[in-house]
Symmetry: C2
Subunit: 324 residues, 2 copies
């Protein structure tokens, strides 16, 4: 992985992805006691940064491979990113989803034109179903984070941060990134290394699932003990990837972890002060910037996605709408 | 009023206001049967386009006048725009607000550093209080829309739309604008006349308060019969301004009116498909684009603001969250 690949992905994405703005709200600065800038990837196509990596990976396939189609395993944001980018690029897309995935996410993935294949989490063998389909139709598997082109696509978010920070006169800052498998974190870290060395990428995770934070502290990749028990579903992964971990180890840290309640508080403040819809997992970096990161220098927080049900969002407003 | 003044305002705003992106969501296109683009002014500083005009007007004052301070009458978005821009420019700001204005809006205006003077709607004389303060301290009154520099500031939104539409390959489109006193509508219309003549500005108002729509149909300025009875409080005004109406008459139309329920439906869809928080009055143009504008060409809808209480927002999600 190097910066050239990220820049090539940016060229392929130009005119297709959203160049999300770098936002600031002075009343949030007052709350945190320092300047906070927000990179709202919830405004990206399909409501999360995942579109960047999906489009970068599918557009990197040779035309004859691409036209046979792509396949992905996902019950969430990666599914929608792949489905949308595949349709734009004229590639058939098959998404393997658990049959108990939220009806809305299944419906959205289908609405973007993908073929959804459902499996039973208990009795079904997801990998066997996927492998059989891929073999039969010649589909290319697009992994959610351990894929060089996916990481390069997520890195285009970092290129934008570097340019926008420079334009805003931000020379040094922590850059807090919501971190699951580490595709976005690694991509941003590589872009900042090349173009904004004063910006320091730091992964942010849900408390109890801070495998990357523990890995950075230990100097060795760690796994999460469980895969459920946080509302931050979008960023719950067993461990960082084989490709993402070495980048994160070299360029990022220290990590931060925030509670579910802090994620909900950040959602309520994003509603009130930024007019943005953040999903719980997408709000952890903002939560860390507001409540946990310490220090008094500038901080940039990525809101990584906004695909949240109305009921969960309403709960955040009901509980924490009086804040700030 | 001419384009030169808008371009001068853009120069003064550069690096201060947010260049809001032009967004698109293919699932909204599918719902409307044509391409819809969104200009989200809810992402502007203070949560509405009003910051543009406020900063343009205050920055146009001669330094010795500006340092004496500014005064405004407003219970809403204009108050916050003036308070924020005044603080940035080092000008004292006095905002005259009714004492029954929402506590949050009073608190926000104070949080931006303005002095809030409350009056009793029944027994107080707002104009007399304001005139006495302005006289005593030498304050400059900044009207919410009938001020050439305010209109020029709102016009910077139109300059951005013109450039962004060209970059997106949009040569012809309706541009739907939430319309109260007409400052944003007139400013955008002047900018499009000069830079994007294929884009046609059309005001959108709440049903029952569509004075501008009726005025355009009649060829003569009309007034609203009432000033309450819609949830779209941000855009309820008695009539278009002396400065805005001639511009709107010359360049805009026909107007459109949408129901409160349609505004709420659009809020729910902005949440779900755009990850944006729109206030009722800020959502009428999107509502018209989705439900009322007819035709099959491209359409651009401005979301003019997002300053909505959690309770109202929650109500929109509860009632219309299953849409689209």
């Amino acid at each position: 992985m190097n910066i050239t690949r990220i820049e090539a992905a940016a060229t392929r994405l130009a005119g297709h992805g959203v160049v999300t703005p770098l936002l600031n709200a002075s009343l949030l600065d007052a709350l945190a006691g320092r300047r906070i800038f927000i990179k709202p990837e919830c405004l990206q196509k399909t409501g999360s940064f995942k579109y960047r990596g999906a489009r970068a990976a599918i557009s990197a396939l040779p035309p004859e491979v691409r036209q046979r189609g792509v396949i992905a395993f996902s019950s969430g944001n990666h599914a929608q990113g792949i489905a949308c980018a595949a349709r734009e690029l004229g590639a058939p897309a098959v998404i393997i989803m658990p049959e108990d995935a939220p009806a809305l996410k299944i419906a959205n993935t289908r609405a973007y034109g993908a073929e959804v294949v459902l499996y039973d989490r208990v009795t079904g063998d997801r990998d066997a179903i996927g492998a059989a389909l891929a073999e039969e139709r010649g589909l290319s598997l697009i992994k959610p984070f351990d894929n060089e082109e996916v990481i390069a696509g997520q890195g285009t978010c970092g290129l934008e941060i570097a340019g926008q920070a420079q334009a805003a006169g931000i020379e040094e800052a922590d850059v807090l990134v919501c971190c699951g498998g580490g595709g976005l974190t690694a991509g941003i870290a590589l872009a900042l290394e090349a173009h904004a060395p004063g910006l320091r990428p730091r992964p942010v995770e849900p408390e109890g699932f801070e495998d990357v934070t523990r890995s950075l502290a230990a100097g060795k990749r760690q796994r999460n003990a469980a895969m459920s028990g946080s509302i931050c579903d979008a960023i719950l992964t067993p461990e960082a990837g084989d490709l993402t971990w070495p980048v994160i180890e070299r360029l990022c840290g220290p990590g931060l972890a925030v509670s579910d309640d802090d994620a909900m508080r950040a959602m309520a403040l994003a509603f009130k002060r930024l007019k943005l819809v953040a999903e719980p997992g997408g709000a952890v970096a903002l939560a860390a910037a507001l409540f946990h990161a310490g220090g008094d220098g500038d901080v940039i927080a990525v809101i990584s996605g906004g695909n949240v049900d109305g009921a969960v969002f309403t709960q955040a407003l009901d509980r924490f709408g009086d804040l700030g």
